[in-house]
Symmetry: D2
Subunit: 372 residues, 4 copies
């Protein structure tokens, strides 16, 4: 694993837990975690249960005993590491967004396509697809339960920047993060909407903004630095099906901590999901009997639901981290079965193009901009 | 009262009930209701408790014993009736949207301004402002409880057109309704957002669409007619404060029956309202003690809340119709106290300009369009 | 109408509104309201739209132009007035609880039975049955949607006595109110549970308590008086079907303003109702497809639901007061059609017996006590 | 670890995960899991990451390399194993209920007291105390945020027996489970209510029932066996503070999957918790400003909340299993710091006495029965 921030902890838990709840054809070994600060990465490796730590990711990638490279660094370094890892014949799991630019993402997708021909797999880490309620939503749409889809609403609302004195984190610097509200959380909203509906966004009209322009360089510091990314993004998207979607990503939705929301409306029903209540799915069956229609709060914890048979009895919920457990399981399954995992780097690239189109639209007076 | 559809029933209940719960300086007399079909209007007049019915609104407006003209007809006839009524020296309450075009609305606002100089009042019927939770939301914002406002989310979600076989109502014909999702329900979202924040939209970028293009001319009919209005509208608006707002109005939000929603996010807190749960307001106090923050569901039924001291004990809710009761009360109060009621026709005109700007933006590739 | 407190306002609204929304075969005339304080009752009569006021209820009952006597006084005077009114051949609507003692209630039920033989009707005012969601719940149970019923949970939670300095209202004096938490709100929980299930409580085991023993005689007064009634009641009841019910009535449920709640669980499903959200009903269909089960929040505002076709479009809610509107409608319908209205005085007596059995059980160490 | 059913999986996850998120002074080693079926226990040991498996728990307890014995067998075997383990000088964590009888639990508590004198610790596994929202509720009560407590409502509602054809699990046999609704889930409701309030139940009046008397011996079997335990329990309890509590435990609450609920009402506020939404706590602050009071839904995921600083960012929830992670952490902390862990075996015995008192009360016509 390259990187050891918050995502490192989450991925570690995924690798640790997946084989204990799912029957995998190969047990992942948590071998080495790589970071720039030798002491810090050693501490995290020990804490998280990795056998070793290291500071030179190139050396690690070159090792014969490493089969999988899991990239959890900031987006600006994804391309370089992923390209090297794929070249070295390692299966690569890369955090989203795939890269900070479309050009980088294209290189990565190309490399992944080439690697695939050699039996080497690459996957983009959109873990929220693997929340059981989200996967189940996709299944219901795919089964036609919603009929013709009319509209999509997707938003990712957080509030950790509502305080104008919240410090200047790396996610607020363009050179590291590329994009903030749009790329970090908007990317999840885009992927989830596309995943659940099976549609792809073909054009967008939107606006990105920076609401707070400078912040303390660290908590309580008097020195201030410039916020060089967007911290809020709003856009309307047209899917290949012709359907319109309403998108918002913001870190100024005071009181909303982690509200990735999706609502899909169709002739025969609707689905509504909120990550803050991630173990349930709201389902409206427009074909139910007169007088009995309404949104049904399904606790997506029954054995029949995706992934849940391997967890606890009905009504016993799972937490945020198990999107990563399911991702680890699915990636291992893909490798052992020889099937391309999903979402691929090409899928990650497509999301990257949507992000770029939103930025371009914003720079061009919200003109409709193709994602092609 | 001119007109006797669904709005006629609601307005009648407002006039009937207001003096029974509020101390008014003048008791409204429900004298005459006007409609085109003599038998039908007579039946409704009797049912709703009006003393008389009539078919010639001009004759009614000319009567000396009529002080107030309440217009609840489709939007296309608002201007003609309102202008005549104001000219005849009658106080006028006109349903929203004020008119079907900006030009008509301008005439009406001009006439209202002229009438005001003669002590004659005109008011636009945005009743949702008078739902206690909405008025209370405005009060909290005005009192600075939210601090600097960052963002606004407003939507009005209904689903009565989700069924593609729902018949072609008058609201779906441009010549009568002017606009459907945008003008009928979007107008409420615009007014509510502006009312609660005290901001005015200065420019918009958006899109309106017709999702179902033809429908049965009546329930179950084989003959179909064209839907000539929008049935869904999405737009982003910039307020005079610089704040961005995300707006959606649709009649295809399957399962959402009457979800006029508003969320306002600020440095110090947030408010969230949903008309489907109209007796409560969600309030997030970002200044509350660490660990105790969260959205508080305030039951807006306490004596300290707007209008509610005149109703029932705390926790005993009121219904949809009492926006109209409060409107009747406030209009009578304005007349008896000699103060211009709010929202004025000028306020109605301003909303009309926003609607027109959204339509223009939609016709122009979602280009940002001024509401001036 | 005899009495003019809070219930007087609610009943008045019911009489006023019912004929405007429902087609009645006879239009009720709001003739005279009776109270002890001539000035106060005159003011209320005028405010509420009654033609006259009076101070001598016996004289009013004797009048030939009075057909219906509506009793909204404290429970201690119900029997005397109701007996006199029935003797005078008037139809009687009496607020719940029917009386302060079983003996009084028995007299009233006997008198009602005798009056019925003369075509004179008596009805007990359990209005919450007539909240559309409650009536609909009864309909679903009656239609067998829940299968065999296993359990019932009923509670009425309020908090207006949570403040130990809340003043000593008449409801806290035994001579006027008879009982407080148990008789005033517990009676509603009992009636609602019996109404929805169709079961009757045959025995109970419970406890009543007084949590705050003395209170200021009026708001802010230094003089304190004794609370001579229960202010909280908990009991378990056995229905004639063998099913157990869990009951609680309290005015110390801090933060709960008007939470009359009922949950009924059966082999095939469950229903859950909360008066604080009185326009919706939660329904769990245990026979729904695997993976799709969950509580469905039905907005009980569709034309197919009880009473609602006469109100507003779907999703437009009604308020507390319209239980009284529906009661007025149903009482007039019963009279004009010559059918005994429900709940009868005998039904009111049965609830009275349950209340008495709970008190007796409490006095006897919570021993199981028959309601017969 | 002795036992390897569902609780075994949960405990294993707790032991595995605790040291990865919390800084422990000693890292637990998952050495050996014991079961009767050698093949099955070997498979589970491998799956769950234990180094070894065994079938003879006495032999394992005798091993020098074993410091902690974790008992997750059915209640009937707790006493024998725990007594042996304590005698062997092992620290013991024992699942709840502590035993199947008070006599066994007394022996265990005595043994634990004796062991404590030798520096050997014993703990009862009421893990729901360690859900952050529950621990936080306790903290708020202890800090006096609720003022004088008036009432307690506690229930544990599940529905896995609603289907009368659900098979006869071991939990339905008295010889194995001792008690079902009361002992298995009612025990949690009792412990949680006592833990959060700091009160102890001193007497109870209640009833236990068996709603379905026979069931298929296995899924789909035609042979049926008798249910020899209660499957629903209702009781009222008196705490040492004088406060009354309303308790219910049932497996017939159709649609409720895992609803352990607690509501505590006081002069200054109230708390409401539901395990189905275990990452949040509803808090009503009766001292908040007029007009702003209401239940606040606190997402108990902030760093300031119990245990949560070691998990994910605010709004990122944790799952059911981490009550076990926190239990593992707290037990290790207790051992390494030399402090008696809580809840002790004496605490477990006290709950056992409450369970026994409810059974005795039920057998004695719901007479009030002391828990002493």
């Amino acid at each position: 694993m390259i990187g050891h921030g918050f995502m490192g902890a989450a991925h570690s838990q995924g690798w640790r837990v997946a084989p204990r709840f799912f029957d995998l054809d190969a047990a992942p070994i948590m071998q080495v975690v790589v970071g720039r600060d030798a002491a810090a990465v050693a501490a995290d490796a020990h804490k998280w249960g990795w056998a070793e730590s290291a500071t030179d990711w190139r050396a690690v990638i070159a090792r014969d005993d490493i089969d999988i490279v899991d990239i959890v660094t900031p987006g600006g370094s994804h391309a370089e590491i992923a390209l090297a890892a794929l070249a070295a014949g390692k299966h690569v799991l890369c955090e989203k967004p795939l890269a900070n630019t479309v050009a980088e993402a294209e290189q990565m997708a190309d490399a992944a396509a080439a690697a695939l021909a050699r039996g080497v797999f690459a996957m983009t880490g959109f873990t929220y697809r693997r929340v059981p309620a989200a996967t189940f939503a996709r299944d219901l749409v795919a089964a036609g339960k919603l009929g013709r889809i009319y509209q999509v609403r997707a938003s990712y609302l957080q509030d950790w920047l509502s305080d104008p004195e919240a410090p200047l984190a790396w996610r607020l610097k363009k050179e590291l993060a590329g994009s903030c509200a749009l790329g970090d959380i908007g990317a999840h909203a885009i992927d989830l909407a596309q995943f659940v509906t099976g549609f792809r966004l073909t054009s967008v009209s939107g606006i990105i903004e920076t609401l707070v322009h400078d912040r303390p360089v660290s908590a309580g510091a008097s020195e201030r630095g410039a916020v060089t990314v967007d911290d809020a993004a709003l856009f309307t998207g047209r899917f290949d099906s012709g359907v319109l979607g309403n998108f918002e990503a913001t870190r100024f939705a005071t009181g909303r901590k982690n509200a990735l929301r999706l609502e899909v409306s169709g002739t025969n029903g609707a689905l509504s999901f909120d990550l803050e209540d991630m173990n349930s799915l709201q389902y409206y069956d427009a074909t139910a009997a007169d007088g009995l229609r309404g949104f049904t709060k399904i606790q997506v914890t029954e054995p029949v639901h995706p992934y849940t048979a391997n967890w606890w009895p009905a009504g016993h919920i799972i937490g945020y981290e198990h999107g990563f457990s399911h991702q680890a399981k699915d990636f291992v399954d893909a490798i052992t079965s020889g099937n391309q995992p999903s979402p691929s780097f090409a899928d990650g690239l497509q999301v990257q193009r949507v992000l770029a189109a939103v930025e371009a639209s914003s720079a061009n007076g919200s003109a409709w901009t193709s994602t092609a």
